[in-house]
Amino acid sequence: MNNSFGLYIHIPFCISKCYYCDYNSVLWEPSLVKEYLAALQEELKLLAAKYEHPRLKTIFIGGGTPSSLTGEQIYQLLLAVNKEFQVSTELEVSLEANPDTVNSNKLAILKEAGINRLSLGVQSFNNNYLQSLGRAHTRQEAIDSYYLAREIGFKNINLDLLFAVPGQSLADWELTLKRAVQLRPEHLSTYSLEIVPGTVFELLLEKGSLDLVSEQLDRQLYERAIELFLAAGYEHYEICSFARPNYSSEHNQLYWQGQPYLALGAGVHFFDGEVRGRNVNSLSSYLSYLEQGKLPLDKVEVLTMEDKIVAKMILGLNLRDGISLVEFAQEFDKELTDLYSQEITKLKQLGLIKINDNRIALSRQGLLMANDVLAEFIL
């Protein structure tokens, strides 16, 4: 049944580490990059063989900072993908790029290589916040890289924007939002900053030198983003994602819809339809696995029916149009509303979910409380 997959490729290198980031990344270093890319090629072959060279629905190159690679390196990588998997020309192929790591030459090669969707890690159009976040680019670099990509011919560009940055006011955020809308990208993603262990921000928080955004302001920032994006003609299709019609991210939608995706690289996660798993996290063990010609699997779990249902719920509800009750019943042979009757009654009473046209989805209020609502569906 699952003969086609999304493919995620992880590039764990960064030129510098942002102060809020706890993702799997290491400092960029040419010889290490080479070794890693060689290992990726090896894994690619093993993986493609394991799944009998399947068809791909989407490709997403994320990081780290994928754009820290040279254009040629990315080109070679995608060439290898093309060789091992069945890839059609209309395929969505996304790449995450930081404004400080692109130039017209590199962008041209990327386009040539088949990248047709660019996701720019802008985060803010305010230099003060860019600095306080530890980003390596300026506001002007972000704008320049955007126009450059347009010139080269990228027709599908996403901007990532971060809110609830310590010290941020509603007025500051509005300026960033308006600048983003003026650029008219096809897609916008926005997340609130979370202070997580192992980051510079955590240390600053412990020292008490972070002016944290209140829960109330956090909410206002988010609501303002929704308002401005909707007014500018974007569709709010997932909690954090906005798109012009027909430009929602196909790759991300695979995740939310619970469709299978394979993954390459250190620390990546995958779900092949039956098994969910992840690769080893550390770069050195990743490399040594592949040196021995073994898939670098760290942990795999065969999903039970219950696991699948929970995944369906906690992913599907992120989408604004939620989960189809009919499809749920077909997939699991159970009525969603029976299975979760108590939770649904409670959440409906609280106005956090709605059921319309045979779909269950978060209400506007439920969007704000997504974690609390989703936690109710853990079995």
Binding site: G62, A164, Y222, H269, I314, N318, L368, M369, N371, D372
Partner: protein
């Protein structure tokens, strides 16, 4: 002069406030009489439990026998009986004192007499003991023996008889021993009379069963003898008798005046209660020694395991502690909010703390403790009187004629600078002023009648805090008095939380309701809906706080298809809810139950 051996026994105890040097003095006496060599000397030998040593208090009585050659060249047997040093154990203290003829009153040369010491001096005088005042710690730079001597006059003791010592440096120890021989009278009693032995403590030993500590008041006791406990009625055959040297050394016989132990196949300390009289079953004494009281708990609380699975372990631990502690009671109890646990009875607050600490430390249990309560007498409209120690048992208001609560007479000693704050505190705790006296220029004795329920709610901590730690407290049970008491219920999201109910005075109910609801608001996390926290008497709400609904979650990026991370996060969220106690649709974290115990007014 019937028996010269009897004439050369001296039975005495040491009365002292915590930290005034009782244990150090006892150690010096043991060293000086070569009962223990310095090498074998465990620091402060008599307080054997870790907890006792840590807190500087004595929980169980102990005894030790010393052989001492006096100036007259004769060999004397000196039995030192160590007494518990806390108000919770007043009854135990009084029994220990009754086993003696004399008492060393140890007073810190800098700090003077404290409330607890005073209470024990009265007990000693009541028991007709010869009191030898000892002014200790004269080596301290701020020692003021002259002032202490004046205090002695105030209590009715002769200051000229006081011995100055520094137990730390060993000064005056010889004088103390000489005074014990010369001033403490030898035991009276007749070895030919039927056996009467006073039990002043019992301990449980897993190998030998109960070991009873006693003083032979009349007659004698030896292995093979069939004995009877006169109050509790049990009969046992004596397997072994002996003395404490300080380790147990068996003897052929213990005759009148002697102090020692016996082993007689006794299974639990309940069968060998402090204050009971041991007699010979076949040749019983006509009456028991006076003063026996069955162990009676005064303070109660619910103990619940944090992990429901620990319920059985808690039961076993309580049973084990009870083997050694006749005053600990417990019975199963169920709380809607806390699940299965035990309602436990204690002699007082310290006793309660000690048991809790031993359960947590020695038995490795995590516990939730409900607010301590006392026994109320409920006079119902139909004439029935019920005694309740748990707010949950309180009948509804319309069935109650009136309620009585236990009162104590509290003696507070404090520096005169703090008299105002001490009195204010006693009065906010519904205290009735009875007496005030200057012990010396700076120190004042206050006497108040106070409801026991007020004392059990952190009165002593508060007293310490308003007097910067200078006040000492003692209290004695007085009797029951009628009071306007009501049951205060706490409702979270309109659902009553049984474990948070308490019985309070009507006049203070508003204030307590306010403070409880505020505390809970702090500790109950925001939910996705608004949660009212109310305090109510019957159906009348007297205080209300609102926990605002949570306004927004953090919007995390679900990165690179990392479903596990998201799921784990949500699972943690859900798990946190599971660990909390579910009351209706609200999860109340354990800390909330703990926090309400510390009501600061």
């Amino acid at each position: 002069m019937k028996d010269t051996q009897q004439q050369r026994i001296r039975n005495f105890c040491i009365i002292a406030h915590i930290d005034h040097g009782k244990s150090t003095l006892a150690d010096r006496l043991l060293e000086h009489t070569e009962t223990v060599t310095e090498r074998d000397m465990q620091e402060q030998l008599l307080d054997s439990m870790d907890l006792e040593r840590e807190r500087g208090i004595t929980i169980k009585a102990q005894a030790v026998r010393m052989d001492y050659q006096a100036e007259d060249g004769q060999n004397y047997v000196l039995n030192l009986i160590d007494t518990p040093g806390h108000v919770d154990f007043t009854y135990e203290v009084s029994r220990s004192l009754n086993a003696c003829e004399g008492a060393l009153l140890v007073i810190d040369a800098a700090q003077g007499v404290e409330a607890q010491t005073l209470a024990n001096i009265y007990l000693a005088l009541e028991a007709d003991l010869e009191i030898i005042p000892i002014i200790n710690k004269i080596d301290l730079p701020n020692a003021d023996p002259m002032r202490i001597k004046e205090e002695l006059i105030d209590i009715g003791l002769d200051p000229d008889e006081a011995i100055l010592t520094s137990a730390k440096e060993g000064t005056g120890v010889e004088d103390v021993l000489a005074a014990v021989v010369n001033r403490v009278p030898p035991p009276t009693g007749d070895v030919d009379n039927p056996l009467q032995a006073l039990i002043f403590d019992s301990v449980y030993d897993p190998y030998q069963g109960v070991i009873a500590y006693y003083r032979v008041m009349e007659g004698s006791i030896k292995p093979g003898m069939k004995i009877q406990m006169m109050a509790t009625g049990g009969q046992f055959e004596v397997e072994e008798v002996g003395v404490f040297a300080p380790q147990m050394v068996s003897a052929e016989e213990l005759a009148v005046g002697e102090v020692g132990y016996l082993i007689a196949g006794i299974k639990e300390v309940k069968q060998s209660q402090v204050g009971d009289t041991i007699t010979e079953a076949e040749n019983p004494a006509t009456e028991a020694l006076p003063g026996y009281q069955p162990a009676k708990p005064m303070v109660f609380c619910g103990l619940y395991p944090v992990e429901g699975d620990d319920y059985e372990a808690l039961k076993e631990s309580l049973e084990r502690l009870q083997l050694n502690d006749a005053s600990l009671t417990f019975e199963p109890e169920t709380s809607e909010a806390l699940g299965f646990g035990y309602r436990c009875g204690f002699l007082g607050l310290l006793h309660m703390e000690i048991i809790q600490e031993r359960l947590e430390r020695e038995h490795n249990l995590d516990l939730i403790t409900t607010a301590p309560s006392v026994i109320y007498k409920i006079h119902k409209s139909d004439g029935e009187v019920v005694e309740i120690e748990n707010p949950a048992q309180m009948p509804e208001r319309q069935y109650i004629d009136f309620i009585e609560e236990p009162f104590v007479e509290a003696t507070i000693l404090l520096p005169d600078d703090y008299v105002g704050s001490g009195m204010e505190l006693a009065e906010t705790r519904r205290g009735e002023f009875k007496d005030m006296q200057y012990l010396d220029e700076n120190r004042v004795k206050l006497v108040y009648d106070l409801p026991l329920s007020e004392i059990v709610l952190d009165f002593f901590d508060q007293l310490k805090s308003v007097t910067r730690g200078y006040a000492t407290l003692d209290y004695e049970f007085q009797g029951y008095r009628q009071a306007d008491l009501v049951k205060l219920d706490i409702l979270v999201n309109k659902e009553p939380v049984d474990a948070l109910s308490c019985i309070v005075h009507e006049e203070k109910s508003y204030q307590i309701g306010q403070s409880l609801t505020k505390k809970l608001k702090e500790f109950i996390p925001q939910q996705i809906f608004e949660v009212p926290v109310q305090a109510a008497i019957g159906s009348k709400v007297i205080a209300r706080q609102t926990i605002r609904a949570k306004r927004k979650n953090v919007l995390q990026k679900c990165y690179g298809g990392d479903v596990s991370r998201k799921k784990k996060l949500l699972e943690q969220q859900k798990e946190g809810k599971k660990r909390a106690k579910q009351v209706g649709s609200v999860e109340i974290p354990q800390e909330a139950f703990m926090a309400v115990l510390e009501i600061d007014e």
